[in-house]
Amino acid sequence: MHSFGYRANALLTFSVTALAFICAIASLSDNFSNQNPSAEIQILNINRFKKQSYENDEVSLTLDISADLESLFTWNTKQVFAFVAAEYETPKNSLNQVSLWDAIIPDKEHAKFRIQTSNKYRFIDQGHNLRGKEFNLTLHWHVMPKTGKMFADKIVMPGYSLPDAYK
């Protein structure tokens, strides 16, 4: 009952159980944090709007994105992954979501930002539906914890639209 093997086994079991318990509590504590992030996006310019040689529409735009995501950070947060997606409807597709820009926010100090950037990923439609198209720009964020449950949410900003003719 007192051999090295038994003692090592008991120690190992106890430490693993304690660690698992601590991880679970850390993850649960995230549910109690109060979160109110805010964001604003402006389209500064539509740089290019064309049809990719007989195929799909493609848009290139410059965005001005400002956001305050400081309240998302808790002690159990490793990083926040934020991205801006254009969401719109077409006759063929009930929902299209195209990510235009994303960033990894490693800590609270970087969580309040304003940047002006052209879209990081190509905004390509499945078809030629983008002329005059109205779309929403949503800022999504994904909180990645140090341990435990990940959660995500978004702010939807409606009311953006593309020009009626190719440019």
């Binding site: 992954f81 009930s94 979501q97 195209v98 490693p106 990923y121 994904h142």
Partner: protein, 180 residues
């Protein structure tokens, strides 16, 4: 002559009942582990409810050796979700984020494009030849939870199989020599 007598004696002294009890206990442990695993598969709706991150393509969020808990529902995939998928012809599942989603009007069929957070380009290069989108049947699950470092055990065991054999050998020895 005496030596044969000794061997026969020691064989006779193996208590059959004790041996059978030990074998059944071992069998119970193995089967209850299997039952728990299958229940997890049912509850989470995916074939492998826990996966180990093998590459650095999602750093700094997920490092090599972390484990992810997966869950799969009938809800369609949306942009931003971290999905684990298999490409036809490759057996290692990949954990990346969905950056583009196109959902068809009537059928609910979804086209998904993914990209690793730490990669510069999207995953088109990883898909099969001529494949531009991922579909529902490629995706094993969405990552909903995360534990750091625990997956290193699996990585070490699969990259240096000798350790796996040593571990199983030691466990087997422990079971046989234990007195209960």
């Amino acid at each position: 002559m005496g030596w044969i007598g000794e061997t026969v004696d020691s064989i006779k002294s193996i208590k059959i009942r004790q041996l059978l009890t030990q074998a059944i206990t071992l069998g119970m442990i193995v089967t209850s582990a299997l039952i728990i695993w299958k229940c997890l598969m049912c509850v989470t709706g995916t074939e492998s409810p826990v996966v180990v991150v093998l590459s650095g393509s999602m750093e700094p969020g997920f490092k090599r050796g972390d484990i992810l808990f997966l869950h799969m529902t009938k809800e369609p995939i949306r942009a931003g979700e971290i999905v684990v998928f298999n490409v036809d012809g490759r057996d290692i599942p990949i954990v990346h984020r969905a950056i583009k989603v196109h959902e068809r009007e009537n059928t609910g069929h979804v086209d998904v494009l993914t990209k690793g957070d730490n990669n510069d380009v999207d995953d088109i290069g990883l898909y099969a030849d001529g494949q531009f989108w991922l579909h529902r049947h490629h995706i094993m699950g969405r990552a909903v939870g995360f534990l750091p470092y625990v997956g290193w055990v699996t990585i070490i065991m699969s990259e240096k199989p000798i350790i796996k054999y040593i571990l199983i050998g030691a466990l087997g020895l422990l079971v046989i020599t234990s007195k209960d």
